[in-house]
Amino acid sequence: MEVLIILIPVALFLGGLGLCAFLWALRSGQFEDLDGAAMRILNEDDGATDNAEK
């Protein structure tokens, strides 16, 4: 059972990593335009407008 001492922190660390990634994505505006993202994939030259974020 001693292995739990390692396993639990590892599990929590990995889960926390996912949580941080999500919070980062939320803060950086990745969830602002969900519908647009689905449609932009059809446009080939979207690089032209990607500099919109500043």
């Binding site: 602002e32 335009d33 407008t49």
Partner: protein, 774 residues
């Protein structure tokens, strides 16, 4: 495998099948002459200067935020973005499809906001500037905060549950006390910060409610979560067996999902309303004493100013015609379907459309007795009356909160006194009651149904403007329609295309293409495929018609007088609901074309489907008796009234209400606005003036009446599901609460019961998709 090939070089990416705007887009591209081919007119070019909305940053960069209408597909995004980027100095242009907003940044003085707005409008997308600071509602911030809380609660719930499952399994396989203690401590370490962070939306709302000495749903939720966490911590410190960490974080997670969905639906409804308002606001062109013209927002117009009204524009203020003669379409104001002719000295009302020739109008004092002021007053009075409606979920919450508190308190006291145990088991049982009664059906299932329903309606071209609109529509049993623009298309349509042979048609269409007169447009739209004919020296006489040379012969298209037809010659079918247009060619008999406002294409079908749903209808119109009677007869409506004034419509709605009906008002005119606001629920087409759209709960797009039917069907389906969910929740509580009261609800039972009931009601909510498909 199917590959969708999108050719980036094709300018007309929005092909006819792809995007509903394509007709407009084409029209705007190729100039006015072709745009008559589409049923919608090209959007007017913006005239108001948006400089006030331009944001200048420190390094000289400028940016402007715009609301954009008509966005439909990927091609729209691309068209706007590449169209703007092609302009000089533009550094960035980005469309947000979800909010239908556009952000443009540029550098330098040469470019200004008006140029940008004109560029987008010329592509076929009406735009309006807005200030992102004032529109960045608390909603946006709140929504993000909820999503972050949801993520934290989800993370905590998953991990605590993992540990809890181990503890439950350990109860059967002799887990050592030390291991159990460790698991409890780790759970506490995760759950306590998570509760403190993710529970905030509920705590804040609960404190606010208690501050004004009221109970809301969030009070028992907060109590359950906080008490469960504290009690579990106490148990952990004592080395006890039962900890409710898992229950408190899962409860938070489920409720946050519901709260997030609810908040998003509200924010979307509000932004829809704002969007419609901003796009409808327009500027008036004022003619100063020195002969110069300038654009002014309508609310800055003062009595005595002279306003120019171009052909096709909406008149922006009540006033007297000081120069010009024209036809005025007042269908939006009075419901009158036939244009009226006016000349100098005549009084015109705001909201009517000038269809024939440019006019100069002298603005009159915005006195209290103008038509518009009267309508605004009636709308306000009606809206105050409507604020009384209480949503189903709120009604349930009002009963639910006190009952839960009383049950929990009784349980605590009962264990303490009747069973004579210590405070610990008593408190555990009371907390179990609070957790078990978690209002997931209220907090999760209702928002889920709402979100699915408004998403489905959006696909069918219906925008839900008020959050409780769907719930009210579902309860309606009586529909009152307006005629002009609601049951009918509100535009004239050619009745007798067979009157002309193919060559004559080609000649007439070639002439009509040169005019913006509604009859010309109707002729071009309804004549069908014709050959292109070359016409020379076209001239238009305001109020009379067009004349031109075709193959050396003089051809005229216009009024009876223009074509020199004697008053006595009149085909039998002409009555006061029909407009006529004459085509006369040199050396041939003049031919008469008849136009009338016709019923929307699927009107009859929709009404018969509504009848099958058990609805009754009535037609209330401001139009003349004969026109209303003909429409009512064509659609099989038995009860109808003509010549109704706005307050008469409201009176009739009150009569119906007193007779026990819940009335759904469907109308588009300014004269319908008070009725829209006083009906139990209301729907209006997107072509209605802004005051009517503001008063309506739902707004639908397109030429067909079917959205009204879809809205009623989906609203009823949604309502049925909400009630089913309440029934399920009550059944579940009847079983689980007694278990909790007698102390049998261990953490395992609580977790399983709560989670399964939440998942069950949510799945049931998603069933609405099946209802809508049928």
């Amino acid at each position: 495998m199917t590959v969708i090939v999108v050719d980036p070089t094709a300018d007309e990416l929005a092909g006819p099948g792809c995007c509903p705007t394509s007709g407009v887009v084409l029209g705007a591209h190729e100039g006015y002459g072709q745009s008559t081919a589409s049923s919608e007119p090209a959007p007017p070019l913006p005239t108001a200067d948006p400089s006030a909305y331009v944001n200048v940053s420190e390094d000289g960069g400028r940016s402007l935020h715009l609301m954009v209408e008509n966005l439909h597909c990927a091609a729209c995004i691309r068209k706007i973005e590449t169209g703007l980027m092609a302009l000089e100095d533009i550094t960035a242009a980005r469309v947000n499809m979800s909010t239908r907003r556009l952000r443009v940044s540029w550098r330098g003085e040469q470019m200004d906001g008006l140029q940008i707005m004109r560029c987008v409008a010329a592509l076929g997308y009406p735009v309006a500037p807005f200030d992102p600071e004032t529109l960045k509602h608390l909603d946006d911030v709140e929504n993000r905060r909820l999503l972050a809380a949801l993520a934290v609660a989800g993370f905590a719930a998953a991990n605590v549950m993992l540990l809890s499952v181990a503890v439950w399994a350990g109860a059967f396989s002799h887990m050592g006390e030390a291991t159990r203690g460790l698991f409890h401590w780790v759970s506490a370490l995760i759950a306590l910060p998570a509760v403190a962070y993710a529970g905030q939306p509920f705590f804040r709302s609960a404190i606010r409610a208690l501050g004004v000495r009221q109970l809301n749903m969030d009070v028992p939720i907060s109590l359950a979560v906080v008490l469960a966490a504290c009690m579990s911590l106490y148990q952990t410190v004592q080395g006890g067996e039962h900890a409710y960490f898992d229950a408190s974080v899962t409860l938070l997670f489920f409720l946050l999902v519901g709260r997030y969905l609810d908040n998003r639906a509200r924010a979307r409804a509000r932004s829809t309303a704002e969007h419609l308002l901003a796009l409808n606001s327009q500027a008036a062109t004022v003619l100063d004493k020195d002969g110069s013209e300038r654009a002014l927002p309508i609310n800055q117009l003062r009595p005595g100013m002279t306003v120019l009204v171009a052909v096709g524009e909406r008149i922006s203020a009540d006033g007297l015609v000081s120069r010009g003669r024209s036809l005025i379409d007042s269908s939006l104001v009075t419901g009158e379907s036939m244009p009226a002719s006016i000349s100098e000295g005549a009084r015109v009302y705001a909201g009517t459309i000038n269809i024939d020739a440019p006019l100069q109008i002298m603005v009159e004092a915005a006195a209290e007795d103008t038509l518009l002021a009267e309508i605004v007053r009636l709308v306000e009075a009606a809206e105050q009356g409507r604020a009384k409606y209480v949503r189903l979920a709120e009604k349930a919450a009002r009963i639910y909160a006190p009952v839960v508190h009383i049950l929990a308190a009784l349980t605590f006291v009962g264990w303490l006194i009747v069973a004579g145990t210590g405070w610990e088991p008593a408190a555990m049982a009371a907390i179990a009651v609070l957790i078990i009664t978690c209002p997931c059906a209220l907090g999760l299932a209702v928002p889920a149904v709402q979100v699915v329903a408004s998403g489905m309606l959006l696909q069918k071209g219906v925008l839900v403007k008020s959050p409780d609109g769907l719930e009210r529509i579902a309860q309606c049993d009586y529909v009152v329609f307006d005629k002009t623009g609601t049951l009918t298309r509100g535009q004239p349509q050619l009745l007798n295309p067979e009157m002309l042979d193919q060559r004559q048609k080609a000649v007439a269409v070639a002439l009509a293409r040169n005019s913006r007169h509604p009859l010309s447009r109707a002729l071009v739209a309804d004549a069908g495929e014709v050959d292109v004919i070359d016409v020379q020296s076209v001239s238009e006489q305001a109020g009379r018609g067009l004349s031109a040379l075709v193959a050396g012969r003089r051809v005229m298209l216009g009024s009876r007088a223009l074509c020199g037809v004697a008053q006595a010659v009149s085909p039998a079918e002409i009555d006061d609901a029909t407009l006529e247009l004459w085509l006369s060619e040199e050396g041939a008999e003049p031919a008469c074309l008849r136009f009338s406002d016709v019923v929307r294409p699927d009107g009859e079908l929709v009404l018969s489907s509504l009848r099958n749903l058990g609805m009754k209808f009535e037609l209330l119109s401001g139009d003349r008796e004969r026109a209303v009677g003909a429409t009512a007869k064509a659609l099989g409506i038995d009860v109808w009234r003509s010549g109704c004034l706005p307050d008469e419509k409201v009176c009739r709605l009150h009569e119906l209400e007193e007779a026990g009906h819940r009335v759904l008002m469907v109308g588009d005119g300014l004269n319908d606005a008070p009725a829209l606001a006083s009906g139990f629920a209301s729907i209006s087409p997107v072509s209605a003036p802004d005051i009517s759209q503001t008063a309506a709960d739902l707004v639908f797009q397109g030429d067909s009446l079917k959205p009204v039917l879809s809205a009623i069907r989906i609203a009823r389906g949604a309502n049925r599901l909400v009630k089913q969910n309440f029934a399920m929740a009550v059944t579940y509580n009847l079983i689980a609460v007694p278990l909790a009261i007698i102390g049998l609800a261990t953490p395992l039972v609580a977790a399983v019961a709560m989670s399964s009931s939440s998942v069950l009601v949510t799945l049931n909510a998603l069933r609405l998709r099946l209802v809508g498909r049928a």
